[in-house]
């Protein structure tokens, strides 16, 4: 699972929909791996508009990265250093193993062999 995906997913349980604890998920016990990718400024800028910034900051800090500015930088004052940091965090950082916990219902999702699983047990599936 690429780090960026953590910004797209919430708890899959229907009754958690819209609750504060269900997004972002709480990332715990994660094993990370860096996979180099070519830097592409246009690409990373186009990604920025899709991001939920506060979720990004939160998950980054759960994974031990506290260097992300708390406010989303505007496109005018974004510099190359920050873009490269974001590139490395969002696209090069892979979560190989770990848990994603919903702070609303406490359900635990796993990342196994680099793939995040959101399958639900029968009592939580609709």
């Amino acid at each position: 699972m690429k780090f960026i995906t953590s910004n797209f997913v919430r708890c899959a349980v229907k009754s958690c929909d819209g609750t504060e604890g269900s997004f972002p998920l709480n990332f715990q016990d994660c094993k990370l791996q860096l996979e180099e990718q070519e830097f592409n400024e246009e690409f990373i800028i186009s990604m920025l508009e899709r991001l939920d910034w506060s979720a990004l900051v939160k998950v980054a800090s759960q994974l031990g990265n506290n260097a992300i500015p708390p406010q989303k930088p505007s496109l005018d004052d974004i510099n190359e250093v920050l873009l490269k940091d974001l590139h490395s965090l969002l696209l090069e950082t892979q979560i190989i193993e770990g848990k994603m916990i919903c702070d609303n219902c406490q359900h635990v999702y796993y990342i196994k062999d680099g793939i995040a699983s959101f399958l639900l047990p029968p009592h939580l599936a609709k």
Partner: protein
């Protein structure tokens, strides 16, 4: 407005017009394709300028090339008369240092010898180009297009029944070899569900995959639609209920490796294991297009998370002091679901996640059974713009294409209750086999 001629591929002709219309719409080109004829791979269209012509064909899969049309005729003499009449309009620019070459493309024509070709090209001497002939990368390519009919013996007749002459504006992605490039067998990872390269590229065009937009395949399998969407610049993401499919066939044989192989690693975002009907994408994540082929249930039925019995208490099972369903190695049970309900879910989900004007495109199997009307799922926020049929021996499938419309559209709704019984593909597919075998006995 100027006349251009498109040389179409004689492949899936029933999809060609939809592709051209979709690409025209994508690039904001106003064009009338009503002269399109499925039997015939040549189509004259009027466009504003060369740039429009270039864009229209650039990523096309079912077209070969587009040419500024200088003249045409039903015989070679008539062609020359017509070109001589029109050439004044076009020629000025090409008198000076422009390097050029001629080429001849035919539909169903036999091979010409080099001498025959040169003779053909020399008859255009009246164009009096002053630039040099250059075979590799000339500034301009002038093309003689010919359409031949076949005789009773199925060999081409001696003379073409129509000829066109024009200046090449662009050749298509197909002519540049993209269909072979994405051939399933060349990929590091593919499987039994992998979707034909030509048609998955086509789906990307009809689905209007756009550069740097997020493209979602909810039933991603081996990822055929995503690798081809990446070719068009889409940023792709997929999900599937089968963990093992997503895991691939070993190191360097995962879906991700296909993107590396095609040198588009950034275009691959991720694949997630999820049951589409219990979706984990946050509500306000929007997609540029949603393209897929939902599970048909011929080999494996449609599955969702859950059990059919309602035995209580399973959620209380504890293993080694931990709730079983919270353990890493817990296997979520799955139960059968109906394709009809899944399609309702797909339309509802898409209506929430697509912006106005964006497209949902998917393939839906239908048995070839004439007595039973086949109802296509519909949603009030979507306009069903195409329903394109591909016929196989015992069954057919349709490419359904929907556009998300805004407030006040209020389209037709056709839900699973209305379709009950008519779409049970699995039953009808096997039913056909048993009937056949009865006849053989």
């Amino acid at each position: 407005m100027k006349d251009y001629i498109i040389f179409l591929a004689q492949s899936h002709p029933q999809f060609r017009k939809a592709e051209l219309e979709s690409l025209a719409d994508l690039y904001n080109i106003k064009a009338d394709f009503s002269q399109h004829n499925k039997e015939h791979p040549f189509l004259v269209v009027q466009l504003e300028n060369d740039e429009e012509a270039y864009n229209l064909i650039d990523r096309a899969i079912l077209s070969r090339g587009i040419y500024e049309l200088w003249g045409h005729g039903v015989t070679i003499d008539e062609l020359h008369e017509n070109v001589q009449k029109n050439m004044g309009k076009y020629i000025d620019k090409y008198i000076e240092d422009t390097t050029f070459k001629f080429e001849n493309l035919t539909f169903q024509g036999g091979k010409k010898s080099r001498e025959e070709q040169i003779k053909m090209y020399e008859r255009f001497a009246y164009l009096a180009f002053k630039g040099k002939i250059k075979m590799k990368n000339p500034d301009e390519v002038f093309t003689i297009l010919e359409n031949y009919s076949l005789g009773k013996d199925l060999f081409p007749l001696e003379h073409p029944n129509h000829l066109w002459f024009g200046r090449q504006i662009n050749i298509s992605a197909r002519s540049r070899g993209v269909v072979e490039k994405y051939d399933i067998k060349k990929r590091p990872y593919f499987g039994t569900t992998s979707f034909d390269a030509e048609l998955s590229l086509l789906t990307g065009n009809i689905g209007q995959v756009k550069k740097n937009e997020l493209i979602y395949d909810p039933f991603v399998g081996t990822g055929s639609f995503l690798v081809t969407a990446a070719e068009f610049g889409g940023i792709t993401i997929g999900s599937d209920i089968e963990f093992l499919t997503l895991k691939g066939k070993g190191p360097k044989r995962r879906l991700k490796d296909n993107f590396d192989y095609y040198k588009k690693p950034l275009q691959f975002t991720d694949v997630l294991c999820m049951d589409f009907t219990n979706n984990a994408f946050r509500n306000n994540l929007k997609f540029g297009s949603i393209i897929c082929d939902p599970p048909y249930g011929v080999r494996e039925g449609v599955k969702v998370c859950g059990t059919t019995d309602d035995k209580l208490g399973r959620e209380n099972i504890v293993i080694d002091g931990e709730l079983a369903y919270l353990r890493r190695d817990y296997i979520q049970p799955k139960k059968t679901y109906s394709l009809d309900l899944l399609l309702d879910d797909l339309l509802e989900f898409s209506s929430e996640r697509l912006d106005i004007g964006s497209r949902l495109c998917f393939w839906m199997p239908v048995a070839n059974d004439e007595d039973i009307p086949t109802l296509i799922p519909q949603h009030k926020d979507f306009e069903l713009i195409y329903e394109l049929v591909q016929d196989f021996h015992k069954w057919s499938r349709r490419l359904l294409v929907y556009v998300k419309r805004g407030e006040g559209f209020n389209g037709v709704t056709v839900k699973s209750d209305d379709r009950e019984g008519t779409n049970n593909f699995r039953d009808r597919y096997f039913h056909k086999f048993s009937e056949k075998s009865k006849v053989v006995k």
